[in-house]
């Protein structure tokens, strides 16, 4: 890829309960990439995504956004990412429309019509005024994913977005990820399934599990 890196990680390390999840993580992600973060359960995939999303600041090392340290580019960075976590961030007693209105307010120029169009794209036509507690798990996931349709964020950080989706939903989401990358966006995604996207790149967190010697160096060296 000839495009300059959007996000660079330098020597990123994260410790949880006196155990290093990963250390010396060096990677760079450029526009136009779809990157799958790999690793078994408990290997720190979610933790890494939470760090990248800015939810957690419990790490060592450096993150750079377009060449600048995150601390000095924080505002620009916050405006450029969309994070969809393990928990969908959807209120069950509100309708999909009411839920998405809050997310739409984060950027200017998103009308109710735009939101309804987004819901239609995710096969939720006719459900815009149904309270979310009456929707199935897959439909709830679709409500959360409908944010992708109107978001202007350049970087999508998606934690297990395929959970509970049916086959056609998975295929549709894969298409959307590929489209976003083709349009100059960057997608960082975790999933236990194989993702069917052209030019899929991957980062395996198991490559960055430190050996005991390295841990000693990190503490005493």
């Amino acid at each position: 890829m000839s495009l300059p890196a959007l996000i660079e990680l330098h020597n990123l390390a994260c410790e949880r309960d006196e155990r290093f999840l990963f250390a010396r993580l060096n990677a760079s992600f450029a526009a136009g990439q779809v990157v799958q973060i790999l690793g078994p359960n408990g290997s720190g995939k979610t933790t890494l995504l939470r760090i990248l999303a800015g939810v957690s600041s419990d790490y060592r090392g450096e993150i750079r956004w377009q060449g600048q340290p995150l601390a000095s580019a924080r505002w620009e960075y916050t405006n450029s990412i969309l994070y969809l976590g393990h928990l969908p961030g959807i209120k069950k007693s509100l309708t999909p429309l009411e839920n998405l209105r809050w997310y739409a307010a984060q950027q200017s120029g998103v009308s109710d019509l735009t939101i309804i169009r987004a819901l239609v794209q995710f096969q939720l036509a006719g459900y815009e005024d149904t309270p979310c507690h009456r929707l199935s798990a897959g439909q709830l996931r679709r409500v959360a994913l409908a944010r992708l349709a109107f978001s202007q964020a350049k970087v999508w950080i998606l934690d297990e977005p395929f959970t509970a989706l049916d086959k056609s939903g998975v295929a549709q989401l894969e298409l959307r990820l590929a489209d976003h990358a083709a349009a100059g966006g960057l997608v960082l995604v975790t999933s236990h399934q194989d993702i069917n996207v052209p030019h899929l790149e991957s980062v395996d967190l198991q490559d960055f599990v430190p050996s005991p010697v390295q841990i000693q160096e990190a503490f005493y060296g």
Binding site: V55, D58, R101, P131
Partner: protein, 224 residues
């Protein structure tokens, strides 16, 4: 844009408050029942009730507020909205103000409006109703703000209910003292503007400090 996310948070929380009427009514029912019990337990002697009415009304209003605090950020934490609040391109402390405002509209304001009715039940003299409403108006708002810090600190814990009370109670003491004192003075036909001024000052201080403290506490609770 800055204005719109404040209002988006405000309207979303207000809608949620109305969808969960049970949560909203719970502190009010507690207030109502607890105060109704007092004359039944102590007997309807007017002299006794007048003497204790200001204190009882204020203590019960404080406990009712305390009862409602745990819900302030809990459901947001459970469904992931709190993470989204944290990373939104908008100052977190301002969104905390929106949430606290809704909390006060749903608990503090109804408590304030219900209090005169219960004052009648405790034979509070008519001269004290103004002081009761004004002191609770200022006091419950300050208590919602201060309480948000306690709620933010304990939201990451599985059972934070008791801890909130322990954190927040000492901070409520000055508000309780001046609030009850305002009503007491008014019942005795004395001037009570000084107490109201102190409550107003407490509210102003809480409005400046509490949202910042709560925002900081939320970051710690969520990232841990």
């Amino acid at each position: 844009m800055v204005k719109s996310l404040f209002w988006a948070t405000f309207t979303r929380d207000l809608t949620l408050a109305f969808r969960h009427k049970g949560d909203m009514v719970n502190p009010l029912v507690f207030f109502l029942i607890a105060i109704t019990m007092i004359p039944l337990a102590l007997g309807p002697e007017k002299a006794v009730l007048v003497r204790i009415a200001p204190g009882i009304l204020w203590v019960m209003a404080l406990l009712a507020t305390l009862l409602s605090l745990d819900n302030l950020f809990r459901s947001d934490f459970d469904d992931g909205s709190l993470e989204q609040l944290l990373i939104a391109p908008y100052p977190l402390s301002v969104m905390v103000v929106a949430k606290v405002l809704v909390h006060w509209l749903a608990t503090g304001l109804p408590l304030t409006l219900l209090a005169p009715l219960l004052g009648v039940m405790l034979s509070l003299p008519a001269s004290a109703f103004g002081a009761l409403v004004w002191s609770l108006f200022l006091g419950t708002a300050a208590m919602s703000l201060i309480g948000s810090v306690g709620a933010a600190l304990t939201v990451g814990l599985r059972k934070g209910g008791v801890l909130i009370s322990l954190i927040v109670m000492p901070l409520y003491v000055p508000i309780l003292i001046f609030g009850a004192s305002a009503v007491q003075s008014a019942a005795l036909g004395q001037e009570y503007t000084m107490q109201l001024a102190v409550l107003g000052a407490a509210l102003a201080l809480a409005l400046v400090m509490a949202p910042l403290a709560a925002a900081g506490a939320l970051r710690v609770s969520v990232s841990g």
